[in-house]
Amino acid sequence: MRTEKLPDERGYFGEFGGRFVPETLMEPLLQLESAYYKIKRDENFKKEYEYYLRNFVGRPTPLYYASKLSKKLKARIYLKREDLCHTGAHKINNAVGQALLAKYMNKKRLIAETGAGQHGVATATVAALFDFKCTVYMGEEDCKRQEMNVLRMKLLGAEVVPVKVGSRTLKEAINEALRDWVSHPEDSYYLLGSVVGPHPYPMIVRDFQRVIGDEARKQILEIEGRLPDYLIASVGGGSNSIGLFYPFLEDNVKIIGVEGGGKGIETGLHSASINFGKVGILHGAKMYLIQDENGNVSPTHSVSAGLDYPGVGPEHSYLAKIGRVKYDIATDDIAIKGFYALSELEGIIPALESAHAIGYLIEHRDDFPEKEPLIIVNLSGRGDKDLGIIYALWEGKNG
């Protein structure tokens, strides 16, 4: 199986992907694609991107042996510490890359959507760093769930626009960002934060996130002298997971993506697009999509705003379809268990998104036949942003 060559020239990963956008956005997408292919071969761009990753973001991030969790689960578990990136999550890798691309394209303004606020913060950060104007769209519901991130974006000089339609979460934020871009295609650059959207975004975001997997692969070979048995990462749109998975796709490594199981599949309140959606088109791409029988996109739920999205990247859709990656789910409760466990055992408070991967591993350790499997878990972000949610749960339990 060769996945390295995808997407094809039409932006497809097998049957998934493409460019389902209003005509006004086709020209901007074609320009973006050609600019991207140019800078991809440019040594100066590569040097600049690596300079900022090292000196601004703080890469490479450690691959940390979680000794107590390993002992508890009878496994050798390594955490890829994206939580130690500047701004607290992997999102900054992509934001730096795309901001440099926007600079190269002479754009003056960045537009972004955000769910949990991590991508919005990352975009506001690079806007400050590289002197762009910046507008971030964020669902009103997410603004409430993640108010500290709203404050951070404002401090960084960005305009934050709460989106007050529909479910008021990430999906609507992307709609609004697309509408802004349709209205300002010349001077504005849409800095999309996940491996979703029309081609070339799923490819660009993947390429700027693969540094996670490239580093992890080198690190595990140095430390353990062999490749891992498993990779595990949470999947919302799918940028942290594709970043870790991509460099291992041709290897003999088992890969598991964990979708948000929400309040349980039977309740219908989840965001497990691959497991319980069907193929559809949203935000410019064909992918697995949670939708009703009429083709309208259904409301989703996850305790973590970053996973609360009805679709999933076209490349993930493809990897699921061909069976290369196993996609499973972790409910809110399992994620919260993972959140507590990592905090107590390892002294690391994970983002609720990443806690889905940790919780899944704890819950499913017995499903792994190896006596002592070697596992890399992507710790995509730190949990500071989620303390309000955890606090509310405590109040609920103890109050």
Binding site: E23, T24, P185, V279, I281, H283, K286, Q291, N296
Partner: protein, 253 residues
């Protein structure tokens, strides 16, 4: 040449008048009465099927899409409604719908749409690249695919679009989403002049129309005009639609 193209070309008036309504809003009965009453004024009826995520639409049509879905409007019950009315027999209809509403069981849906008597489809998120492979399927069901030309569409691309477009081209007059604007955009006027030189295919002007003088300024420039959000706003605000509708209609004579 599609039947609509013939009709547009041989019109005995300045512009064809293409009102846009979202199916089932404010409700099916109101729309039916209004359309039947005004059947002789409507050259082509553009009927939108509501979608949860209408990214090409501005605030008025977003709100109407949202409310229509809450009212349970779908492609299926829109087709059932049309079947029981005179509308398809007395008015030429094109559907506007986002591609996800068609994607699943595509051919079954196209067959039903054809059977009702709908003439064409406007799919705002299906650009040239994605439509090429689907054209034979739309053809099979005799449905005209209406393609868009927008101010960002470059010349080489316009040539390709013009070549495969159906009865008319949906001329997007501004960079942006649907919604009323006070003036005709100069950018759009200049662009229409340029496109006019490149094709005989009818151009129907969309986006931004709300008053008579805008329509009058389109004489000789394009072949027709779509009015959507302006009517939608009247309906949302519960105001009288008829006199306003007549005023804009008369401007197309």
């Amino acid at each position: 040449m599609g039947s609509l193209q013939y009709k547009i070309k041989n019109r005995k008036k300045k512009l064809v008048f293409v009102p846009f309504f979202v199916a089932g809003f404010p409700d099916f009965k109101f729309l039916e009465n209004f359309i039947i009453k005004n059947k002789d004024k409507i050259d082509i009826l553009e009927l939108g099927i509501p979608f949860s995520d209408p990214v090409a639409d501005g605030p008025v049509l977003q709100e109407i899409n949202y409310r229509a879905i809450l009212n349970g409007v779908s492609l299926e019950n829109t087709l059932n409604w049309l079947k029981d009315t005179e509308i398809p027999k007395v008015v030429d209809i094109v559907f506007l719908l986002y591609f996800n509403l068609l994607y699943d069981r595509l051919e079954e849906k196209l067959q039903k749409i054809k059977d009702i008597g709908v003439k064409g489809l406007v799919i705002p998120d299906l650009p040239l690249e994605e439509s090429e492979a689907l054209l034979p399927i739309f053809d099979k069901y005799g449905l005209d695919l209406v393609l868009f030309i927008s101010p960002t569409t470059r010349k080489e691309r316009r040539e390709k679009i013009i070549k495969i477009a159906g009865s008319f081209l949906y001329f997007v007059s501004v960079k942006g989403v649907t919604g009323e604007r006070d003036e005709l955009p100069q950018e759009g006027i200049n662009f229409a002049r340029e496109v006019r030189m490149e094709t005989d295919k009818p151009l129907i002007w969309g986006f931004g129309i709300r008053n008579k003088s805008q329509i009058e300024n389109l004489y000789g420039l394009v072949d027709g005009v779509i009015v959507g959000s302006a009517f939608g706003r009247k309906l949302l605000e519960g105001q009288d639609l008829q006199s306003y509708f007549d005023e804009l209609y008369e401007a197309t004579l």
